[in-house]
């Protein structure tokens, strides 16, 4: 899995051509998921994230991104809940230890704004998503920020009696901030 992802990233960076892929600066990046439990917003953070981004501000349409998150690092702020969401009905972290996003295309959407389409894979299920984001230079890095709503049931997150969307809304908003060191 990891090898395949690495090869894919490598291939994508070759396709991208002039710009080499840079590793995401995890310390300055964050990915979170916010869901609603009987109307109550609850946010969980993925503490371990990684991936590669090739981005040239002069030619953003050629940008490529691969983002990986470590499912076991999902933190809801309570050890009991953290254990629960690793169970089979939820993320099934033992079988699917990583989630990923691999871009397939980038469209400019105004100054410093882009629409990135790609494939989001969680719990072994892949869904095509379109992610609006902003890009700005910040301290020797490019910071990409955005959020995208997804449907948890499309990824079978919360199976069995947890399918009840009155208890747990289907919509989950994934929010991210990715810092990518500038470099050619």
């Amino acid at each position: 899995m990891r090898v395949r992802q690495f090869l894919l990233a490598a291939m994508l960076s070759l396709v991208a051509g002039a710009v080499s892929a840079q590793t995401i600066d995890a310390a300055r990046s964050s990915v979170s998921a916010t869901f609603k439990q009987m109307g109550v917003p609850v946010e969980g953070k993925f503490k371990k994230i990684g991936g590669q981004v090739s981005y040239d501000a002069a030619n953003p349409a050629a940008a490529r991104a691969q983002v990986d998150v470590d499912i076991a690092s999902f933190d809801l702020g309570d050890p009991q809940y953290n254990r629960e969401v690793q169970q089979k009905d939820w993320f099934d972290g033992a079988r699917f230890p990583a989630a990923s996003f691999v871009s397939t295309g980038v469209k400019a959407a105004g100054a410093g704004r882009f629409e990135v389409s790609g494939k989001l894979t969680i719990k072994g299920r892949s869904v095509n998503v379109s992610v609006p984001l902003s890009a700005r230079a910040d301290g020797g890095a490019t910071v990409f920020e955005g959020s995208v709503p997804v449907r948890r049931l499309a990824f079978s997150i919360g199976e069995g009696e947890w399918k009840d969307t009155a208890l747990l809304a289907d919509e989950v908003v994934i929010k991210f901030r990715l810092a990518v060191p500038a470099g050619k």
Partner: protein, 178 residues
């Protein structure tokens, strides 16, 4: 026969009484459900909504009480009983505020803001704070057991008035007095 409570006061009393009994039962039940289940999450949310409702109704009760003082106690009551009645009623009112508040702040400390009936987000007065979780949940439990004890005293005193003293203190709060 001395004057009864106003019918608004009676309604508020019995409504709040029913909600408190329901919420004590719900609270004691939900904390005994092991693990994390849909039922448990539902009970926790209902418990919070009922607690918020009690808080609002008790605020209303106190406002009503300020404008409509309760009927005087019978002259036959000794002084210590009057004092005990005043003190236990004051303590009950204090607990009816403190108990929901301690639960509300506990929920905020854990990082679950209260959304009334799943529709109306209530103010987030403190940030999630793991250090406050233990003391607040302990406080909530101590206050819950305190109100249980006080309610037993309250009901016991009402029955004493009815069957031992044979005065009309209990009847003043009962519906449709004759």
């Amino acid at each position: 026969m001395s004057a009864p409570y106003t019918s608004t006061a009676k309604w508020l009393h019995w409504l709040v009484a029913a909600l408190i009994f329901a919420n004590l039962a719900l609270g004691l039940t939900m904390v005994d459900i092991p693990g994390i289940t849909p039922t448990k999450l539902r009970y926790f949310n209902w418990h919070k909504w009922v607690g918020v409702t009690v808080f609002a109704l008790v605020t209303l009760r106190l406002a009503w009480r300020a404008m409509h003082p309760p009927p005087p106690l019978p002259d036959s009551m000794p002084r210590w009983e009057r004092r005990a009645a005043a003190a236990s009623h004051a303590a009950l009112y204090a607990l009816m505020f403190a108990l929901p508040l301690s639960g509300y702040f506990y929920s905020l400390a854990v990082g679950f803001p209260v959304v009334y009936l799943g529709l109306f987000p209530l103010p987030v007065l403190i940030e999630p704070n793991p250090a406050l979780k233990e003391p607040l949940v302990l406080l909530h439990h101590v206050l819950a057991w305190s109100i249980i004890v006080l309610l037993l005293v309250h009901v016991g005193a009402a029955l004493k008035h009815r069957f031992v003293d044979r005065d009309d203190v209990l009847q003043r709060i009962l519906p449709r007095q004759t």
